[in-house]
């Protein structure tokens, strides 16, 4: 089963990549989609086997490298963590594959695109099912390659090529850390197999590396190096600059690689290494700080961007920050939970944005959109679901996962935990704000696009909408469906209490805000108001339905609380020291901690509504008043400019100097070029010598003869 789940995308890639020409576009689309859907079904079966029936195992495929005491196998490690990842990857990938049939219908290189998508899926599956660091590295680089190929898929666009190169190069920095971390692991543990590392980790908790005469805590060094890899791949602050640019790729790519799966590889890596990170508190602190700052900074930038995909990209970065600070406070289950829910609603948002872009004739700038909700109602509704989930409104998926992440941060009671908590709260507010800013600018208000574009606006075909609907199901149900399993406690009755109470609370909140919206809307567009009111009704229905279900589920859960609690769910895949179990403590967090994120979300939505529907002049005025801050945010905190000045330009200058003075001026001039010129000269001389006259030839022979004889006379110097 695990072979099907991992290798069918690879087979599809091989078939389409090698024989694409003969099987045609339709065949390529069918084979790749069928491959990934099959893999998705297989991973669901695995979910049942491994997680519900508690049977984790490892499949040995073949020995790979055996050199001295270093030996590595190709193996599939099928445990709870990898199965969760495989489910996410395969399901989202299947949706994206199918969606791409519609989205790329006008592209001439469909086969190449589908083949790359399948290659990516395979590499990602190898990454998560790795049983040692080398195989993980293989998958890690494989997804990097696929990402590079797909960002630069439209290789006729210089900007796409630049973005692809940027993504590759920036990721190299992180990969360097991962490679060093792998070597460090081998140095310390003498092996890079996961089982052996995790078993030995406690015994090395007081080991030190001596580097340049200083002692460094060995596990901390290793964890920080591995985290460096994660920072690159998951676009955390410092190595994040490639992610927004990666939006140059086709939108399905952004959804699959740059939102749902590849960028979460870093989260997976840290979670996988939880047995090691647990013994490196300093490393955990660094992870928390990075995560908190990323969540905050990305959210601030997201508020000022105009490109619809960039807004979602910064939001992705911000949500990844949440996952990382959850990891940092040892709430690995919470991080994985947010990873799963985020995969669904962010892929939904991206694909929805793709649908909008498709409808708007490839327009991505939100300043040129607006007023199209009536023309593409299905997309509009689905975007609402994604947005509600992102903003953390119950009962949508994001609410559950974001709450537990923030509560865990608070429950850590450390300075960095608190910092991350408050940064996360601020980010939650901003998230809601920029999400609704995006929704309102895109769908409401007066149309700002040209008449030609507006006339052409059309709903996407079913082949694009069905995958969206599948993801929407995930965005709605993944939260409370998986809540108890991922982060639920066997000791607290927190499940029922938390879920139901929250729903009640939310209902009144949302109702209030909705009424506020309707009441204060005499001058606004009637239809907009009505639409929003309808949406609120939909939400209310959803809430009621969810409430009932949660109650039912909670009752069931009380019977099987053992099976669905996090300890039973994760088994040995995640490891938390008892004193670090923040998820456990999060369940007993005070009321205000539990409600604050939701309040922030609602306030953010309200502010966005005021700023973009009621007082359209407000954003401009705020921008003018806070011009320096806005400039800073709009230019993404000047990271790109800073890196250009610090690294890119000096390196380019250095390269230019070496190329011109060193290579062309010295090596080439005296080496290849000089040698070639000299050879030509010799050759010309020789052919001039070859005059064609017999007497000259005969003369040469005689001279040569005399020369050789003379050599013996003078050199050997014997007398006659």
């Amino acid at each position: 089963m695990e072979l099907v789940a991992v290798f069918t995308p690879f087979i599809a890639f091989l078939v389409v990549g090698l024989f694409g020409r003969s099987i045609g576009d339709r065949g390529a689309q069918f084979i790749t989609c069928a491959g990934v859907i099959l893999a998705a079904l297989a991973s669901v079966v695995l979910f049942d086997e491994v997680i519900l029936k508690h049977q984790a195992y490892t499949t040995l495929l073949a020995p790979w490298v055996v050199a001295g005491n270093f030996s590595v196998n190709w193996a599939l490690r099928i445990d709870q963590l990898s199965v969760v990842m495989m489910c996410v990857i395969n399901i989202v990938s299947a949706c994206v594959h199918v969606y791409s049939i519609g989205y790329m219908s006008h592209d001439p290189a469909k086969r190449r695109f589908m083949a790359y998508l399948s290659l990516f899926t395979f590499a990602m599956l190898m990454l998560v099912s790795a049983d040692n660091l080398l195989q993980l590295f293989f998958g890690w680089e494989g997804v990097g390659l696929a990402s590079y190929l797909l960002i630069g898929f439209w290789n006729h666009k210089p900007s796409a090529n630049a973005a692809a190169i940027k993504a590759f190069v920036v990721n190299r920095v992180g990969d360097f850390g991962l490679a060093l971390g792998t070597m460090g692991v081998f140095l310390l543990f003498g092996t890079i197999g996961f089982d052996a590392i995790f078993e030995q980790a406690p015994t090395y908790k007081d080991a030190y590396f001596t580097i340049l005469g200083h002692d460094f805590h060995a596990l901390t060094v290793i964890c920080l190096l591995l985290f460096m890899g994660a920072v690159g791949k998951s676009a955390q602050l410092g190595l994040h600059t490639w992610l927004p640019d990666a939006m140059e790729g086709p939108t399905p790519v952004s959804a699959l690689i740059h939102a749902a799966t590849m960028v979460t590889a870093g989260v997976f890596l840290v979670a996988r290494f939880s047995p090691v990170f647990e013994y490196a508190p300093t490393a955990l602190m660094v992870v928390t700080v990075f995560g908190g700052l990323t969540a905050f900074v990305a959210a601030t930038i997201g508020m000022t961007q105009f490109d619809i995909k960039r807004v979602i990209a910064y939001s992705t970065m911000s949500q990844l920050g949440y996952m990382f600070f959850a990891l940092g406070v040892s709430a690995y289950g919470a991080a994985m939970f947010h990873l799963v829910t985020h995969a669904f609603f962010k892929a939904l948002l991206f694909l929805g944005a793709g649908s909008v872009i498709h409808a708007m004739s490839d327009e991505q700038d939100m300043r040129n959109m607006g007023g199209i909700f009536k023309k593409i109602p299905t997309t509009y509704a689905l975007m609402w679901i994604g947005s509600l989930a992102l903003a953390g409104i119950p009962p949508f998926a994001g609410y559950f996962s974001k709450d537990i992440v923030l509560e865990a941060a608070w429950a850590d009671h450390s300075w960095f935990g608190n910092m991350a908590f408050w940064l996360g709260i601020a980010a939650a507010f901003m998230t809601a704000f920029y999400t609704w800013r995006m929704l309102l600018m895109t769908f409401h208000g007066t149309p700002r696009a040209s008449k030609k574009v507006m006339d052409h606006v059309h709903e996407s075909p079913p082949v694009m909408l069905v995958p969206l609907a599948v993801l929407a199901l995930g965005a709605v149900f993944a939260g409370w469906g998986l809540h108890s399993g991922f982060v639920g406690s066997a000791h607290h009755g927190g499940v029922e209490e938390h879920g139901v109470e929250a729903v009640h609370h939310e209902m009144s909140e949302d109702h209030a805000s909705g009424e506020r919206g309707v009441g204060g809307h005499d001058t606004g567009d009637q239809s907009v108001t009505k639409q929003i009111a309808q949406n609120i009704e939909v939400i209310e229905h959803g809430i009621k339905a969810a409430e009932n279900q949660i109650i039912v589920e909670a009752e069931e859960a009380s019977y099987e609380v053992e099976a669905w609690a996090k300890e039973n769910f994760w088994q040995k895949a995640l490891y938390v020291l008892p004193e670090n179990d923040t998820v456990e403590q999060a369940h007993s967090a005070p009321f205000w901690v539990k409600k604050l994120p939701l309040l922030m979300g609602v306030l953010g939505i309200a502010l966005a509504y005021i700023a973009y529907m009621l007082l359209p002049a407000l954003p401009g005025a705020v921008t003018r008043v806070f011009r320096p801050i806005h400039t800073l945010l709009f230019n993404k905190w000047f990271f790109d400019e800073l890196y250009d000045a610090l690294f890119v330009k000096p390196l380019l200058d250095m390269g230019t100097i070496f190329a011109e003075k060193g290579d062309r001026g010295t090596v080439d001039r005296f080496g290849p070029d000089g040698g070639a010129a000299l050879s030509q000269k010799i050759a010309r001389g020789l052919s001039r010598f070859q005059s064609g006259y017999v007497y000259q030839y005969a003369f040469t022979m005689m001279i040569a003869l005399i020369g050789i004889v003379s050599w013996f006379v003078f050199r050997n110097g014997q007398g006659f």
């Binding site: 050879s679 030509q680 000259q696 050997n716």
Partner: protein, 487 residues
């Protein structure tokens, strides 16, 4: 005559049977040709191929033990047998390549195959020479036939010019050779290899007399293998002679002359290894460098091959410089591989015809990869092999001679050899570049005849397959080489 060797006093002609058969066969063909006229040329050609094949079978049927017959005039040993098979193989290949070409050029005269076989008899005699007389007679029989062949396209000025040039310069080289032989006779009192060797061994120190003789004899033979600086005729004759004759020149006589040189240096002149080592060192180095640099400026593929053959003889000579059985074995392997590669290349060159006329410029090959991909790829493989790029056979030929030289401490020669092979790679690669990347010229005429395709594919297959079991050839060559040293 001498009692150092156990002279076989009885009149044993058995080791001579192949040569006798070949000579009679050639004369028989001549009679057939005279009676049937030029119509029978292609029949006679194929008959000659068959005759050469029978000769080869006869050689294989002989006892390859070392024996000397006819009062020391003629020697047959493993080395002679192996080299004769090489020569016969080369003759067959060049004849097979010629048949259609003669018809296409309108020089379909029955003397052609007869002359080829006759020169073959001369080469066989050279390889079995154990006496300066046998050596000279064999050499001249070979050369005279080749002079005529060079001028075979007698209505074409360039062919006549080539024949004349070759003849005049060849006569000069024969003069040198004869002068050297007479000097040697004067100092050692014998023209028998065994006696000369014994006399030189017995001398306390080598005086200038034998050294002079050595220089002149080596110069005469260096002309035959076109070693620099006795190479000047090569490009002109290669270009002027009909293509099929050029193929013959490039493939066969050099093998025979190289074999003769090896026997001469390793047997009678063994005592003067110090001296001839210096000469061959110089010839080898000069040939490699001139072969590499001279080829760069060439536009004609025939002149290119001329320089390539000059360079290749330089590499082969490295093995002789080493002076060991290992080196001699390497030379044999090198010659074998070189011969097969060259035959394949000529199968392509002979097919370079446009509008009924032969074309010879490298630029004419442009676009061959489109018009005739099989031929283009085969040619590319052969040229890669000539440039010495692994895993093709040419690489092994080079590495064996370099290994032999390095084992004897000839580092400078080996390094310069590698450097010159890098330079030479340029002109091989240029041809490949023209075939694959240049704007396509018009395709060549018609279908490639079967014989040419066969030669091309067999040589390509050999070049590619050599790596699978190199020991097959290397070991038998080594054992043949050993027979030179320990008789």
């Amino acid at each position: 005559m001498t009692d150092i060797y156990t002279v076989i006093t009885d009149f044993n002609l058995v080791p001579l049977i192949p040569e006798i058969f070949m000579a009679l066969f050639a004369m028989g063909l001549l009679i057939v040709g005279v009676s049937q006229g030029n119509r029978s040329t292609s029949v006679i050609c194929w008959a000659s191929v068959a005759g050469l094949a029978i000769t080869a079978l006869l050689i294989m049927g002989l006892d390859w033990q070392h024996k000397i017959i006819l009062n020391g005039m003629f020697v047959f040993d493993e080395f002679a047998g192996f080299m004769k098979l090489l020569v016969l193989l080369g003759l067959m290949a060049s004849l097979a390549l010629s048949v259609r070409y003669l018809a296409q050029e309108g020089i379909e005269r029955f003397e052609y195959p007869v002359l080829v076989v006759m020169s073959g008899v001369g080469m066989m005699m050279m390889l079995s020479a154990n006496n300066m007389l046998t050596l000279y007679v064999g050499l001249e029989l070979q050369s005279l036939a080749l002079y005529v062949l060079a001028a075979f396209h007698r209505n074409a000025v360039r062919s006549a010019e080539a024949g004349l040039k070759y003849f005049v310069l060849g006569a000069l080289s024969s003069g040198m050779l004869l002068f050297g032989i007479s000097l040697l006779y004067g100092f050692t009192g014998s023209i028998d290899f065994g006696a000369i060797g014994a006399s030189l061994l017995a001398a306390d120190s080598i005086s200038f007399g034998p050294i002079f003789a050595l220089v002149f004899i080596v110069a005469g033979l260096a002309f035959k293998i076109s070693a620099v600086p006795f190479h000047m005729w090569t490009p002109d004759v290669y270009q002027g002679a009909p293509e099929s004759v050029t193929a013959l020149f490039a493939i066969v006589p050099k093998v025979a002359a190289m074999g003769l040189l090896m026997r001469l240096l390793f047997e009678p002149f063994a005592a003067m290894a110090d001296q001839w080592g210096q000469i061959i060192y110089f010839l080898s180095l000069a040939s490699m460098l001139v072969g590499a640099f001279g080829g760069i400026a060439q536009l004609s593929i025939k002149r290119l091959i001329a320089y390539s053959s000059i360079g290749n003889m330089g590499y082969a000579l490295i093995g002789i410089v080493a002076g060991t059985p290992q080196g001699a074995g390497a030379v044999i392997v090198y010659l074998l591989i070189y011969m097969i590669m060259t035959a394949g290349v000529f199968a392509v060159i002979l097919s370079m015809r446009r509008n009924g006329a032969a074309v010879e410029w490298i630029g004419d090959l442009a676009g061959l990869s489109k018009s005739n991909p099989v031929m283009a790829y085969a040619m590319a493989i052969l040229l890669f092999s000539m440039a010495g790029i692994p895993p093709m056979a040419g690489f092994f030929g080079k590495i064996l001679v370099f290994q032999a030289a390095v084992a004897e401490g000839y580092y400078v020669l080996s390094v310069l050899g590698v450097v010159s092979s890098v330079v030479a790679a340029y002109y091989y690669l240029r041809v490949i570049k023209v075939m694959f990347f240049d704007e396509a010229a018009d395709p060549f005429d018609g279908r490639t005849p079967f014989a040419r395709r066969a030669v091309l594919l067999i040589s390509t297959a050999f070049v590619l397959a050599f790596i699978l079991k190199p020991s097959l050839i290397v070991e038998s060559a080594q054992s043949a080489a050993l027979s030179l040293f320990f008789g």
